[in-house]
């Protein structure tokens, strides 16, 4: 185990073993603060012919050695502790290789305990393959057939508040027993199953599933309807992930011995660093990691963390599924050039089958960024459905509430209250112009009022998440200084109007005392320079039909944070509508592109 606890750590090594690439980063203390200094990567080697994850890890570390000049390896051993020019004090790792952690969850009522179980598994970094519930609309034999065909890494079974229903929970356990599901990574071990439901049902569940699964009991995730208790079950998921799932994956038994902290599922680590950063900074934030196969969305609103994963929305392996789910027209609407259906479909499918290719022309880049807008939008819609308050909760009402009927299960995502949006993943982190990343996020999420935006520079959030368990200071210092690239801020108005109608007036006072003011008409977009680290005093007054966060027609005043893009004033309205006529829409897109300098002039025919 590579961990030094004596004094301040001088050098830390972290890896993320992804499905295709293993990425290593080196963090060093530079003039009293932690900075990410070097990075290396190598193909992941979980699959044949290597079937040993440590090969890829060692290759990635070797690249860090070559670039940094620091000797980290002695043969196949990581040198510890750190000394002048050699060794590291800590080595940590995350993993999503081999498809990550795949789970089936179950609960009695779909909108209550089953939804809590889903939130718990997602929060632990899992992909949820299916959600079973007594009222999921499927007959018993259909549930059994479905469980039989899935080969999850583990099952989380919940259901019933403590002292509540037993028979419905037992019914689900009986379905699982009848299906006799097999674990994904081979038949050599029993499928881990966590029971986190009504404690009165434990004995029965033990009788039914004890001899068929590696059964683990933990606290109820919904002990009473009014409260979720996800942490104990989430901890058990992580324990079983290490003990059962990781131990079955090729080479992980060795890798576990190298690390100074438990290996975490990659999305769980990303969620952890976002949660910690939000808490430290007192922010409500929204984060997205758009990969080749999946898109993860994270939100921390008033301290409540929610993660969702859209398993088949991504930019390479799953790019064709974005087309299927969004529809052709939704993608075409973002492309400023006319592409016929056959050409567009062929291009998207060719990207799917050759996922490592990159756009060489602006037209091709614009198409990929159009698909990304839709993938981000769809994944966000799915997130909003799960990032909700608890359903089925009895509400105490006073006479004053009579006219304010507030439903339970209300969305937690109020875009006016989101302070920061963080984007991650190749299409956002590696866009040729940072303004392209910013506009993809703005178009997909349609933030309201004043919102800061940032991107992950080189996708090091997983590394920092797992590191934060051991050395929170190092993790958060690097997160703020090296990981996040501040794009700037966006001020956007809610409402709709006629083109050319006044939308909002603004006035800005920059740090150098310079003032700028003007008015935006409906449909306009404006970009102003405001450098990273700088803040400008912003005052804005919307027209009657528009809202900037203080109500329709009410003025707002705030400090706008700068970034590498600057400040975007967005008077295109919310919801954002693009014109139906293709020629008019192309002109609209070109005008917006020109307003923010999105693509090189005349680069798109």
């Amino acid at each position: 185990m590579i961990a030094s606890t004596s004094g301040e750590m001088r050098a830390i090594l972290a890896t993320d073993c992804g499905s295709t690439t293993t990425k290593a980063i080196l963090i060093e203390r530079v003039r009293g603060e932690y900075r990410q200094t070097f990075r290396g990567e190598a193909p992941t080697t979980v699959e044949a012919p290597f079937e040993d994850v440590t090969r890829g890890v060692l290759n990635a570390i070797q690249e860090v050695e070559e670039l940094s000049g620091r000797t980290i390896l002695e043969g196949e051993k990581i040198l510890t502790p750190a000394d002048e020019g050699r060794g590291v004090d800590l080595y940590v790792s995350t993993s999503s290789a081999g498809g990550g952690l795949q789970m089936v969850v179950g609960g009695v009522v779909m909108a209550m305990t089953a939804e809590s179980a889903q939130r718990c598994a997602l929060g632990a970094g899992a992909i949820v393959m299916d959600v079973l519930a007594s009222n999921d609309g499927r007959a018993g034999h259909e549930k059994i057939e479905r469980i039989r065909h899935l080969r999850p890494d583990m099952i989380l079974l919940s259901g019933g508040t403590d002292g509540g229903t037993v028979s419905h929970v037992v019914e689900l356990a009986e379905y699982i027993r009848a299906a006799d599901p097999k674990p994904r990574l081979g038949g050599g071990y029993r499928l881990p199953l966590i029971f986190a439901g009504n404690r009165d049902a434990r004995g029965r569940v033990e009788e039914i599933l004890g001899d068929r699964t590696a059964l683990v009991m933990t606290e109820n995730i919904r002990p009473v309807l009014e409260r979720e208790n996800l942490v104990p079950a989430r901890t058990k998921i992580h324990d079983l992930f290490l003990e059962h799932v990781m131990a079955q994956a090729p080479g992980y038994a060795v890798l576990i011995g190298w690390t100074g902290a438990p290996i975490m599922p990659t999305p769980a680590a990303v969620g952890l660093i976002m949660e910690k950063a939000a808490r430290q900074q007192g922010l409500s934030l929204l984060g997205v990691d758009i990969g080749g196969a999946t898109t993860d969305v994270f939100s921390v609103v008033d301290g409540q963390f929610t993660r969702t994963v859209s398993a088949n929305l991504g930019m390479s392996y799953s790019i064709s599924n974005v087309l299927v789910e969004a529809g052709l027209e939704q993608i075409q609407r973002w492309v400023p050039v006319a592409l016929d259906e056959q050409d567009l479909r062929d291009r998207i499918k060719n990207k799917m089958i050759r996922p490592t290719t990159i756009p060489q022309t602006q037209e091709s880049l614009a198409l990929e960024q159009a698909v990304a807008r839709e993938a981000l939008r769809l994944a966000f819609e799915q997130h909003r459905m799960l990032a909700v308050g608890l359903k089925g909760v009895q509400q105490e009402r006073t006479i004053g509430d009579v006219f304010e009927q507030e439903e339970t299960g209300k969305s937690l995502i109020d875009l006016y209250r989101i302070d920061l949006i963080i984007g991650s993943g190749g299409i956002l982190s590696h866009a040729p112009r940072r303004v392209q990343s910013m506009m993809m996020l703005i178009d997909a999420y349609q933030p309201l009022g004043l919102t800061r935006l940032a991107v992950d520079s080189i996708f090091m959030m997983p590394h920092l998440g797992v590191l934060s368990q051991v050395n929170e200071r190092a993790a958060t210092e690097v997160f703020l200084k090296d990981c996040l690239v501040p794009l700037g801020s966006c001020l956007a108005a809610e409402g709709e109007g006629e083109p050319g109608e006044p939308c909002f007036a603004y006035s800005l006072r920059f740090p150098d005392g310079r003032r700028e003011e003007g008015q935006l008409r409906f449909g306009q977009l404006l970009r102003l320079d405001l450098t990273p680290g700088a803040e400008a005093d912003l005052e804005a007054e919307p027209s009657k039909g528009f809202d900037l966060g203080s109500g329709r027609g009410s003025a707002v005043a705030a400090k706008a944070a700068g970034g590498v893009v600057g400040l975007i004033l967005d008077a295109r309205g919310r919801p954002l509508r693009l014109l139906d006529d293709p020629t008019a829409r192309a002109a609209q897109l070109r005008a917006w592109s020109a307003a923010v300098d999105l693509y090189p002039i005349n680069s798109i025919p």
Binding site: V46, E47, G98, H168, Y175, Q342, K349, N350, Q360
Partner: protein, 379 residues
């Protein structure tokens, strides 16, 4: 990383392919090590457990779950026929009696005194595992299956649909750039693995199904035509279970793209030979590509030299003089020869800075392409 190009698909005139064939659940292995097999030899078999059905007896009889056993006419492991009563109540007045019939023929699996449910299981379904290849057994996995090996020619495609198939290789076109029109697919092609050229359209795919091809191997298909064949849009590139009447293997990609000459010539040289093929594709981790495997048999015209050359061509890096296919616009499908491999990243029209190569196309035009956008053509 050292190599940023896409490694080419395997096209080997002589190689050895070994396939691990295992049952989804333990069963009986019917072959022993060293035994010759054909593609259709059953090498292992098992019984897949039947589907489970549930009957909520307590709801139907209006009784409490803990009383259920008193009302059951059948016990665990008893056989039942569809319609046969599994439980009944015992009212004072006989004609008020209610019986609960079994919805299936099978056995009683379990009776729950907590939920009042009875689980019934259909009879097991026998599953036979075929050898897939003409070859011989090289390894046996007790209760699981065996590895079958064959010396063969191998063509890997980029994408396919449909499962495993066996047939005789037949050529439908003379040139790899030809379009496979419907009239080129004749009734004599029934049951064959038919090789087309650069493209097959919607009508050609319909004709392939009508004729009853075993498989169709072609350079490219337009996505709307594939969608029409499947009856749905393909979202994720995990295929192999489709049932469209034949197995489809695309060697180059979506759109009209001439089949690589080497692939075409190799398949043409195998016309009339029996082959095995599969359309199964998985692009994600654990990549699976569609394939055509043509066992050499005893009368192989190829020498061992060919085998060594094929092996050497796999996995080497890009070098000047190599032939590459460009796999992304604006030069998609064009073939060129590498004339320079600049070490420093270059600026693309997208404003990205990446490592490129310079290639000379067939018409003498010299172009610059990201290394990630080429596929090495093994010569």
């Amino acid at each position: 990383m050292a190599h940023t190009y896409t490694p080419g698909l395997r096209v080997a005139s002589r190689t050895v392919v070994r396939k691990r064939r295992v049952l989804p659940i333990p069963g009986q292995v019917l072959v022993e090590k060293g035994r010759p097999v054909t593609a259709t030899t059953v090498i292992a078999q098992t019984d897949l457990p039947g589907k489970v059905h549930t009957v909520n007896v307590v709801n139907l009889l209006g009784i409490a779950p803990e009383e259920i056993r008193r009302y059951m006419l059948k016990r665990e492991r008893d056989p039942v026929r569809a319609g046969e009563p599994v439980a009944e109540n015992r009212p004072f007045i006989k004609w008020l009696k209610t019986q609960v019939p079994s919805p299936i023929t099978g056995t009683v699996e379990s009776v729950s005194e907590v939920t009042g449910q009875v689980f019934l299981r259909e009879p097991p379904k026998p599953l036979s595992l075929l050898a897939y290849l003409d070859g011989h057994v090289v390894e046996v996995f007790p209760e699981q299956g065996a590895s079958v090996e064959t010396e063969c020619s191998l063509v890997q495609g980029i994408f396919g649909i449909g499962g495993e198939a066996v047939g005789t290789v037949a050529m439908a076109v003379e040139d790899p750039a030809d379009v496979l029109t419907p009239e080129r697919i004749t009734d004599t092609h029934r049951g064959t693995i038919l090789v087309g050229g650069s493209l097959v359209g919607r009508d050609g795919l319909t004709r392939a199904r009508q004729v009853g091809l075993s498989a169709l191997v072609v350079g490219g298909v337009h996505d709307p035509d594939l969608r029409s064949l499947l009856g749905r849009d393909l979202g994720v590139a995990i295929t192999g279970d489709e049932r469209v009447g034949f197995t489809l293997i695309m060697t180059e990609g979506f759109g009209r793209i001439a089949m690589a000459k080497r692939t075409f010539d190799l398949l043409a040289s195998k016309a009339g030979r029996r082959a095995s093929c599969s359309g199964a594709t998985q692009i994600r981790a654990g990549v699976v590509r569609p394939e055509v495997i043509i066992p050499l048999g005893e009368s192989s015209p190829f020498t061992v030299d060919g085998s060594q050359k094929d092996a050497a061509a796999v996995g080497t890096g890009l070098k000047i003089g190599d032939q590459v296919r460009i796999i992304r616009e604006p030069f998609f499908g064009r073939i060129g020869t590498i004339v320079a491999l600049p070490a420093e990243p270059r600026l693309l029209p997208t404003e990205s800075r990446v490592r490129v190569l310079e290639a000379e196309l067939g018409d003498g035009e010299r172009i610059s392409v990201p290394r990630a956008n080429v596929e090495l053509l093994e010569t």
